[in-house]
Amino acid sequence: MASVTSGVTDTAKPKKVLFYRHSVAVRITHWLNVLCLSFLLMSGLQIFNAHPNLYWGQYGADALPDPSFISIGAVEDGNTIKGVTRIGSLSVNTTGVLGASTEDGELSPRAFPAWITIPSYQDLATGRRWHFFFAWFFVINGLVYLLYGLIGRHFRRDIVPTKDQLTPSHLAQEIADHARLKFPKGEKARHYNSLQKLTYMAIIFIILPLMVLTGLTMSPGFNAIFPWLLDVFGGRQSARTLHFISASLIVIFVIVHIVMVLVSGVWNNLRSMITGYYALKFEQKDEVSK
């Protein structure tokens, strides 16, 4: 049977069916989110560079004996400098990328390199202005998306896994398929798979809200308004650390997301997030045999 089918597909093009996958609300909020998160990351790293140490607890400063458990700094090395990234007691030479990198053709002490911060040169005031503008933009965009997700039933229809998607055997099968970069085709590609759904849920309902809440916990004004946030995260400096960690998780998510878009049909994916239409490919067994 299998050999017959493959013989037939050589001569027949698979039949494409376009279906409307992404509503206009999802598409607009998705791309605005791309814009916001890009600027938030670049301006956030600019802000981090002003004090590249992370602490746990209510306080923490580069005045001994406050212990920082992550720091990205530069140390003198003969007549040049080297970048050192330290996590706990583990120090790694990261010259060129972290701690010390090239700015205007010269090796300079800076935690994150010029090519990923906004502005490229060190300017905390400007970094903050960009960060807070896009933070507001991000929050408003996120609220629009959440409202649409609930009222427009987008969450129930597209994001929350169905019961049969969550059985151990189904999940095991999906993990095996993903590991071999084997993606569902035809009718099965009409819905997100459960790994996709669970990842999107974690990002939408846990990581992005965590980003906002840990951000608010760093604000002395919002601390007075919502003092319980300090208790939830264990202090302003813990919140700052968690803000950094959840930003890192978002970066990892985005990298995997982009890789998945690239390997699972880049134009089809891109078109669907721009025009809304996603092509399902069916083998044309019936028509060919006529």
């Binding site: 670049m42 802000i47 981090f48 002003a50 004090h51 140490n53 602490y55 209510q58 306080y59 923490g60 400063a61 580069d62 005045a63 001994l64 004996p65 406050d66 010029a114 090519w115 906004i118 502005p119 490229s120 040169y121 300017d123 905390l124 005031a125 400007t126 903050r128 202005r129 960009w130 807070f132 503008f133 933070a135 507001w136 760093m218 604000s219 002395p220 004004g221 919002f222 601390n223 007075a224 308004i225 003092p227 300090l230 302003r236 400096q237 700052r240 690239l262 880049v266």
Partner: protein, 257 residues
């Protein structure tokens, strides 16, 4: 094969785009139109915080056990003027706090006068705009009591704090530290003129003889080495016109975030 070509084209395209983006970003950063739009977020932040907080909403106060073992000194840690050196020599006995501007009764208060007024002690967290925090215990006179004593003239909207230190050495005095807060923060119960820290007299490194504590905002608002308080209806004509040393250098006037 076709995937490789696509990927190569994508990588070339994206690196070209990234280079363009980097120079493009710096150009955008320096555009005044862009900056004017971005600055709108500051009013949004201030509006949101003021909407959600009442006049009495307090910053968290901590216990003695929470104190930072060492409180980092930042900005100026030793004003270098001769006047200031003379004042430290006799323990600020000749120092006077001048309260003037849009007030009914201008005041000249000595450190002893301030210490004779009712005091407030609070253990609070100091948040530097750079990102670090330190917890300290502050003792001082509530700013509101000093303002009551002077009596505000109609139209007074801001309290401006003139300091003794030149954070940026200059010939024309444009590097002199100053700050300003509005009356909402000026009358806030935790806004104090602190002369004591961690149970001792305020040290020079932390702003002796007097520093402002305005606990719902970032560290740069907490002016050190306060010499005078001027009540004004606008800070447009002071120094760079933005209401503070760091504000004149691009930082937000409302530093609640």
């Amino acid at each position: 094969m076709s995937f490789d070509l696509t990927r190569r084209r994508f990588l070339i395209g994206s690196s070209v785009a990234a280079t363009g983006l980097l120079t493009g970003c710096d150009a955008m950063v320096q555009s005044t139109t862009v900056n004017d739009i971005l600055q709108k977020a500051e009013s949004l932040t201030m509006g949101a915080q003021r909407l959600l907080m009442s006049q009495q909403t307090l910053a968290r106060e901590f216990s003695e056990a929470d104190l930072s073992p060492v409180f980092k000194a930042n900005g100026t840690s030793q004003p270098d003027s001769e006047d200031y050196a003379r004042m430290t020599e006799n323990n600020f006995a000749d120092w006077k706090l001048v309260v003037n501007g849009m007030v009914k009764t201008p005041l000249n208060l000595s450190l002893a006068d301030l210490k004779a007024m009712p005091s407030r002690t609070q253990i609070t967290r100091h948040d530097c705009v750079e990102g670090w925090s330190a917890i300290g215990k502050w003792t001082g006179v509530p700013l509101g009591l000093v303002l009551e004593k002077a009596g505000l003239a109609p139209g007074a909207r801001y309290a401006v704090f003139h300091c003794a230190d030149d954070l940026e050495p200059s010939l024309d005095g444009s590097g002199r530290y100053y700050e300003s807060i509005d009356l909402v923060d000026a009358w806030h119960p935790q806004t104090i003129l602190a002369y004591g820290m961690n149970g001792k007299d305020l040290e020079v490194a932390h702003g002796a003889p007097l520093r402002l504590r305005v606990e719902r905002q970032l560290g740069y608002k907490h002016a050190k080495y306060v010499m005078g308080i001027e009540l004004v209806d606008s800070f447009k004509n002071l120094a760079g016109g933005k209401g503070g040393f760091w504000e004149d250098r691009g930082y937000e006037w409302y530093a609640g975030i």
